[in-house]
Amino acid sequence: MNWKKWFLLLTFVFVFSIFLTACGSGDDDATENTDGENGAGEEQDTDEQDADKQDADEQVLSINIKSEPPSLHPGTSTDTTSSAVLDQVFEGLTRVNQEGNPEPAMADEIDISNDGLIYTFKIREDAKWTNGDPVTAGDFEYAWKWVLDPENADTDYAYQLYPIKGAEDAKENEGSLDDVGITVEDDHTLVVELEQPTDYFLELTAFHTYYPVNESVVEGNDKWALDVSEDYVSNGPFKLVSWDHKDKIVIEKNEDYWDADTVKLETINMQMIDDEATALQMYENGELDWVGDPIDKIPLAAIPAMKDSGELHISDRAGLYYYTLNHDDELFANKNIRKAFALSINRQGIVENISKGEQKPAMALVPPSMFPESETGYFKDNDVELAKEHLAKGLEELGLDKLPKVKLSYNTDEEHAAIAQAIQDMWKKNLEVDVELNNEEWNVYLDSLSEGNYQIGRIGWIADFNDAINFLELFETVGGNNYTNWESKDYQELLKASRGELDSDKRMEILKEAEELYMEELPIAPVYFYTFVYAYKDHVKGIEVSPVGSFQLKWGYIEVE
């Protein structure tokens, strides 16, 4: 009859034995779990003391990378979380510096031929892998060709390599990898031949798809990038020390890095905290040194208070938030109707009252970081008068008395919904049109857009590198990321001309002309240019967020009082 007591006792023992084993195993596989152990018995005060002590004698930075990086293999990674880690542990031929420009990194000498087609990179003699091997031109060739090999799965970002001659053919049209314009002249000389002159090629070589991998370690070992092991060999300012999946990544300074004297941070803790509010609380509590963009986000509700207290930093981001208009739709095939809709949006109001991150009202396509003139744009914000004129003209052309009901679609999200409601109201007031709101789950939404199953749809575009072609190219042909179903011969001609132009200034003029043409046609209704919104502790110095969102910790340091 005493079995019940036994049962209770058993439950007790079971529960606590699990705790004990859990704590025990934590010590085993995490190389440095000291913070965790402090937290165990003692209270938060000790943690804070710890933090103070660390500031004094150690260069430790704690940031939040939000989620598990899907891939820490430079060739298969496609997202910002992964690149936030990869940018610190790997290094390409160039690296984006604090001013946002590419500077020589693994290559110490870069020679560009007069026609802009041949790039010769001299790789530093003192460039080393973390296992001591020298970084060679062959490592770059191997890494790039691995990505271009159609046999290799998950190489989604291969198209980043397409400016290289023969790359697209090798990946998509059964061309030979040997015909790709990558030549290793000797261990320290890499010659790259391009398809056509590419003004921004040195920005590309700083991108993670262009990172090298150590051929001798990686060859025949497709699991090398799955965990921290002696096979995880990198060449950047930091090296990967521990990777607790979905939990935390720790990187430490790489003493063998060629520019190790510049690197001051000793340890960087990268926490994976998905919940924005939780991350903010940890920041306020001193457990994180950085919160918000480019990897995490500050909750919308917390922005006004943080702005008032002066701790918020806001910087430009090369990205556009816009409504794409479907040209297969009878209504939006009409240019005047499109203009009427685009002109009657009060962007300033949206930016001030809804998104609140000092975003810039967009009356242009290319962000101000590429075209400074875009600050003012091609038309006046909230120009209701002109909108009404265009509306009258458009209705006449279509033979309508009144606008029919239109449908505005967006993917489920607090901010998108609020903006859509505001715009619904503006259009109702200014154009007397009934707007039906339609929100869909992200994947479903992307499907609807691709199938052209929408009238007006919310979307955004963030540049990979700081060049106007990034935005203009988007609408070159129908399909891909151009959901508008709009294309124009003249526009295509202009983009083509820009590609052949070697003179930077002239090229900019041509691109500018293309933007003008685009804004005259107005296949989309631009809303605002994104900004980065973030906060960091006063002792954090030397970390800049570039407009394209590369997060360079190489130059960061903790100021010791």
Partner: protein
């Protein structure tokens, strides 16, 4: 008994088959795919990826392939986390959810039963009102609100516990409480009403008349009989805890399986969706079986094998 258990296991296998089938086809009916993203892939590359991951095969071939793999307990590679297998993902996340879940169940049971008993003994007195106010609060405040409040008060303001993460026992207390609150309140109410029932029954009167002390009456005769409904609630409780944990895991940044389960659907990470679904189903079916078996031990009036004996 053994026969009963085998029969139940048979049912479990059949239920699993239906779960796998239904999930598989529902999942494939949902729009979008694992490679959809804001930044569209060149069509040829997407085609190559589909080919490599076997998404180009006819659906029935994929289905049969999948069934055979599930039978071998191999859920395949994740689409989103390059190179990681679903088995690895489950293996590394489940311990967190398990510890959190067990702690919550333990808390809910211990405190819930205590509150219920106190409320019943001090029926319509201060103790009763106090316990029931706690219970009503526990039921009506959603766990994610409670979690945020706990975080703010006990971690940020009072600095008693860490805000988030799951590195030590101290880290597990706040999420444990947040997750336990609702079932705790439910158990307290359940316990109170069944305890009141028992306390009014004849054998308690007999015990009192015999001159047994209040303590002995309540412990030996009261709680023992009153706890039965709570035990039968254990099965559904496991379900509540497992499916309810994802939001707590998100708020406290715990790398558990609940979070993975929900995220995989948003990502259309087919293999992870299937893997976690099958895993949770097995867990739930087995835990319900275990509760049924325990129940037969506790309550002599329930005989699992009697049915067979009668027929």
């Amino acid at each position: 008994m053994v026969k009963y258990v085998f029969k139940r296991i048979g049912y479990i296998v059949i239920s699993l088959f239906f779960i796998v089938t239904i999930t598989f086809f529902l999942m494939r009916l949902a729009p979008g795919g694992p490679f959809a993203s804001e930044r569209k892939l060149p069509p040829k590359i997407e085609e190559q990826m589909n080919e490599i991951y076997g998404l180009n095969d006819p659906i029935h071939v994929q289905y049969i392939d999948y069934l055979t793999r599930v039978a071998k307990w191999d859920f395949g590679p994740s689409f989103k986390y390059v190179g990681q297998s679903v088995n690895d993902i489950i293996g590394r996340s489940f311990p967190y959810s398990l510890i959190l879940g067990l702690e919550a169940i333990f808390l809910a049971l211990a405190v819930g039963v205590l509150l219920g008993v106190v409320a019943a003994i001090y029926h319509n007195k201060f103790g009763d009102y106090m316990a029931m106010v706690i219970a009503v609060l526990g039921i009506s405040v959603p766990s994610f609100i409670l979690a945020t409040i706990l975080q703010y008060v006990f971690a940020l303001k009072l600095q008693l516990f860490p805000i988030a993460k799951f590195d030590s026992f101290a880290h597990s207390i706040l999420p444990g409480i947040a997750l336990a609150a609702t079932p705790l309140a439910f158990i307290a109410r359940l316990m109170r009403s069944s305890m009141l029932d028992v306390l009014n029954s004849d054998y308690i009167k007999t015990a009192k008349a015999k001159g047994l002390t209040k303590r002995v009456t309540i412990y030996r005769h009261g709680i023992r009989n009153a706890i039965l409904p709570v035990v039968s609630y254990l099965g559904p409780l496991v379900v509540t805890i497992l499916t309810g944990s994802f939001i707590i895991e998100k708020i406290f940044a715990i790398p558990g399986l609940g979070n993975e389960f929900v995220e995989s659907v948003t990502n259309r990470d087919y293999t992870v969706i299937m893997g976690t679904t099958v895993f949770f189903s097995v867990l739930l079916l087995v835990s319900i079986l275990i509760v049924d078996i325990i129940y037969s031990f506790i309550d002599p009036r329930i005989k699992l094998t009697r049915k067979e004996g009668d027929q």
